[in-house]
């Protein structure tokens, strides 16, 4: 899961380095799009809800259970969405029972839809999806998945004003997390920076 780092306020950049991808437990993470305040709060509360359940019951929720819980939380934000404070997350989790990764997308009413292969949300979501549509293969190794994610975000940043590109001057790069059977892993910043630089170099060659 990967996300750009820019927050927008009207026609201005309000933050260059916010995180939009959060680890929620050992085997899941969410990425958020929409109004930053409620969205970050949703991520934080969701993470606490999962941990709370795990401690009370002594068991971890199933991947499906987590996705449904998030749907309820998005639905409870509906009155706020009518006021314009829309929050739409993507939930990514490794299903320990099925032994596979799963992706869930949501709409403002709390509708929960499982996606296969890939998905992207946010103002630049469509541009990111277009890139992934062209590049995606079923048997992608980790390094190629990172390349595609970085390129998808880069293309989104080129076409959409709400998406921030990699900032080489300040050293701000996308957040990237890898969810596998072993758990959620933050990719090293150096690795992400390297992928961004390689992409920019290849673009420069073409130009």
């Amino acid at each position: 899961m990967a996300g750009d780092r820019q927050a927008t306020e009207g026609f201005q950049v309000s933050s260059r380095r916010i995180d939009k991808v959060f680890r929620t437990d050992q085997h899941s993470a969410i990425a958020i799009a929409g109004a930053a305040g409620p969205a970050i709060e949703l991520a934080r509360l969701f993470q606490i809800e999962l941990e709370h359940y795990e401690k009370l019951e002594g068991d971890i929720l199933s991947c499906e259970g987590k996705a449904n819980k998030l749907a309820q939380m998005v639905r409870s934000n509906l009155p706020m969405a009518f006021q314009g404070l829309v929050v739409v997350p993507i939930f990514g989790g490794y299903d320990l029972k099925r032994r596979e990764g799963r992706i869930f997308k949501y709409d403002v009413t709390g509708g929960r839809y499982e996606e296969i292969e890939y998905y992207a949300v946010g103002s630049g979501g469509k541009d990111a999806r277009d890139t992934m549509k062209l590049r995606y293969r079923r048997d992608l190794p980790d390094t190629d998945a990172l390349k595609i994610a970085v390129e998808a975000l880069y293309n989104a940043a080129e076409e959409d004003v709400g998406t921030g590109g990699p900032d080489l001057i300040r050293g701000i790069y996308p957040t990237v997390k890898m969810i596998t059977e072993e758990g959620v892993r933050d990719l090293e910043e150096s690795q992400i920076a390297e992928a961004c630089r390689a992409l920019i170099a290849s673009r420069r060659e073409k130009a």
């Binding site: 934080r44 941990e51 401690k55 009370l56 002594g58």
Partner: protein, 228 residues
């Protein structure tokens, strides 16, 4: 009209205490021990699914002895208290001291006002971060709270366990395997049997870890540690 007969407060409290003690004496015991890398919790518990030891927060664990339904209610209330506090303020503001205080209040008021006292004895332990010392609180059936050092025991055989530990050195600098062996030996000696790894519930709070430090030790790992 039947006259309500008088019972002196002393008598009432003594009766309640005796009742609670009797209830706890029937239960199995738990040992908490400080060691070089954190705090070890060992419970004599034949059930693999009904836990006596539980994670409470990042660096805090809970252990309950006595009546299962009663300490289970306390455990859940404690987790709710901790998670709510961590959500409202910050994760670092959740402390064993505040939890132990809340438990003491609840158990104490039940002991003095309700007709039936809780037949439980619980431990709330917190592993220190970096160089900070550990905290071990033992809360009794009447709400009395004791700040322990090194080793703490609760449950039916706690008197015998204390006698066992009195004769031995329980330096908090010993490695995990040694602390574990000593705890298991103590439980073996008071129950007069060799407890199998499957009959033990073991967990640790690991000082060096970040975030959630609670970890259960499964019987396979337990076997390796005990034979090391």
């Amino acid at each position: 009209m039947a006259l309500p007969y008088y019972v002196s407060p002393e008598q009432m409290m003594a009766d309640k205490a005796e009742y609670a003690k009797k209830g706890i004496a029937k239960g199995r015991s738990i040992v908490a021990m400080e060691h070089a890398d954190g705090i070890l919790l060992v419970a004599d518990n034949p059930s693999a699914s009904l836990h006596k030891i539980s994670e409470m927060y990042d660096r805090i664990a809970f252990a309950g002895a006595g009546k299962y339904n009663e300490y289970e209610i306390l455990r859940k209330a404690g987790i709710r208290h901790a998670d709510l506090k961590g959500y409202m303020y910050s994760r670092e503001d959740v402390t064993a001291k505040s939890l132990a205080n809340a438990y003491s209040q609840t158990i104490g008021s039940i002991f003095s006002t309700d007709p039936k006292p809780l037949e439980v004895e619980i431990l709330v332990v917190e592993v220190g971060e970096g160089e900070k010392p550990n905290e071990i609180y033992r809360i009794s059936y009447d709400g009395s709270i004791i700040d322990e050092r090194g080793v703490a025991v609760v449950g039916g055989k706690s008197e015998n366990l204390l006698t066992f530990f009195k004769g031995r050195s329980t330096a908090s600098s010993m490695p995990l395997a040694d602390a574990l062996k000593l705890s298991v030996e103590a439980l073996d000696s008071v129950t007069n049997q060799k407890l199998a790894p499957e009959g033990l519930e073991v967990a640790v709070l690991e000082r060096g870890r970040q975030g959630r430090t609670f970890r259960r030790i499964a019987s396979s790992e337990l076997r390796t540690l005990l034979s090391s």
